[in-house]
Amino acid sequence: MLRKNALCAATALSVFAAGSAFADNHSTITVATVNNGDMIRMQGYTDQFTEATGIGVEWVTLEENVLRQRVTTDITTKGGQFDIMTIGMYETPIWGANGWLIPLDDLSAEYDVDDILPAMRGGLSHDGTLYAAPFYGESSMVMYRTDLMEAAGLEMPEAPTWEFIREAAIAMTDRENDINGICLRGKAGWGEGGAFITVTANSFGARWFDEDWNAQFDQPEWANALNFFVDLMAEAGPPGYSTNGFNENLSLFQQGKCGMWIDATVAASFVTNPDDSTVADSVGFALAPDTGMGKRSNWLWAWALAIPAGTQKEAEAKQFIEWATSKEYIELVAANEGWANVPPGARTSLYENPEYQAVPFAQMTLDSINAADPTNPTVKPVPYVGIQFVAIPEFAGIATEVSQEFSAVYAGQQSVEEALEKAQAITNDAMEAAGYR
């Protein structure tokens, strides 16, 4: 009886263990990616890549922040679970400098690496070496309701100022009918509200650090930017905006509750999609606003494919990256799903294509991307690269804390002065501990 039980237990354990030995196929690569429309679409076309090359592809799809934690752990512990990782413009130069990524300096001639938009290529390189190939890129821009703008008797310029945005937001606000003049991100998090207030501050002449890595929150430019933002949202923003991020604002805009929304260019395809948006036929686009100081409040971001150092399948991974970020892939999607659904913002040739030029938001997306310069992001000089972020490993932690202080201002829990004072202390302390100062 006892032996029989022991046998059963051993059998059961061997079944549990079976997964580890299962299918270690050399021609199968594992790709870690984020859940967004373009990435999911790509998964649907993977069979065509497998048919053409014989290389199988397994996907691990995770939420953005979980993915960051997962791939960072995998790289630093040399876990080797992934052959390709989807990473952004923040991680790429840092990880490239650490030797964690395989340089993409030997891509084939047919791939035409020079066709990648210069802003994207610059942001995904370290010391001139490309470490990740952009799958799609984005900037930020103004999306506005043409009907409400007309009713307010105003006309949106192609390149508005913050003053105009404020005037228009107040004019479009109709509290009785639940219409907010403007919807902006206030949610804590370096990639959420933190990103938005940073680009806004850039356009007001503010910067995170001076050339000696001293925090600059005690300078008047930051106070001007933050006060302007808080006043604007009090006059024309939705209630409870301190917890609104991309998705919350997208939801408000699609339901016709925002006159304007300044956010990622990738949102253009969502708000103009009649299946999801009640205002699809009355959306206009403009460049992100400025204050006349020479910098606009738009960011630059790319989701890009990179190969972690230590993969056993470097050649197969490169083959996949060349396929997924190629001109041919864009044409494949266009042929099956239309030009509005191709991954935007990565290749110059896409914007030269007359068929793509007919897409309503194409030109404004390109202009927004071109208006962003990650190597020269602020009015005054800075020692860092990055527009809505500072490309140093410590930034994510610092900016998350700072954005929490700002969100507390938006929620009415503290004053602008208090938040800036705390931000200054948090940042300087962290930079001192990290050895920058």
Partner: protein, 276 residues
Amino acid sequence: MARATTTRRKVITTAVAWAIGLLIFFPIYWTILTSFKTEAQAINDPPLFFFFDWTLENYAIVQERSDYMRFLWNSVVLAGGSTLLGILVAVPAAWSMAFVPSKRTKDILLWMLSTKMLPAVGVLYPISLIFVQFNLLDTRIGLVVVLMLINLPIIVWMLYTYFKEIPVEILEAARMDGASLREEILYILTPMAVPGIASTILLNFILAWNEAFWTLNLTAAKAGPLTAFIASYSSPEGLFFAKLSAASTMAIAPILVLGWFSQKQLVRGLTFGAVK
């Protein structure tokens, strides 16, 4: 008069219990409801409670995009395996603490429980390195062991509580009749503690089923359970609430059914020894 007071108290207690029950169930109800909406209906303001065009489209998309059965099987193996292994380790441990306590038994019990206070992320790197070293990343066997270990303090505590309820004289009588230690645990103690062990198994199964830190951080394409399945539908840039709700409903359905059928044992197990 006394009867009227008792009746009124009963009505109030029942009403409060129902209100709390509904409050707790509401997020689950809302998730299930949202899974039958279109993405546009999912974000509609005012929210749509019942009257909308019900659709199964989200379930079809989720089925098409993900290998649900693989995730489900992994969940069953991880939850079942870790529970089984946990019981095998915890029964002897709880027996010795309940019937042959030492001066330090209480301290050991408290120390075991205190390990649950450690934030999981604090040991992410050590555990990851061990997994890399022993080639356990993305394997079910590795996760079975980790899930067993993180739930072990709770299993030991629960079993210890049940065992303490059993009169030690019965075990002594068995010993006098010549029962060995193994026979004492297997044939005397275990049958008497079956309700307690059953509820411990159930609770541990649910805890392991819902565990979402280690199962996300130590898996990739092969061993990911339903928590990884749900995580793949979460997105900060794009409104996919209806699909996320469909995935969540599919993930919680098995455990919801299991919980429904075993609620008697669960309640009995959780309140066992609470009132003496």
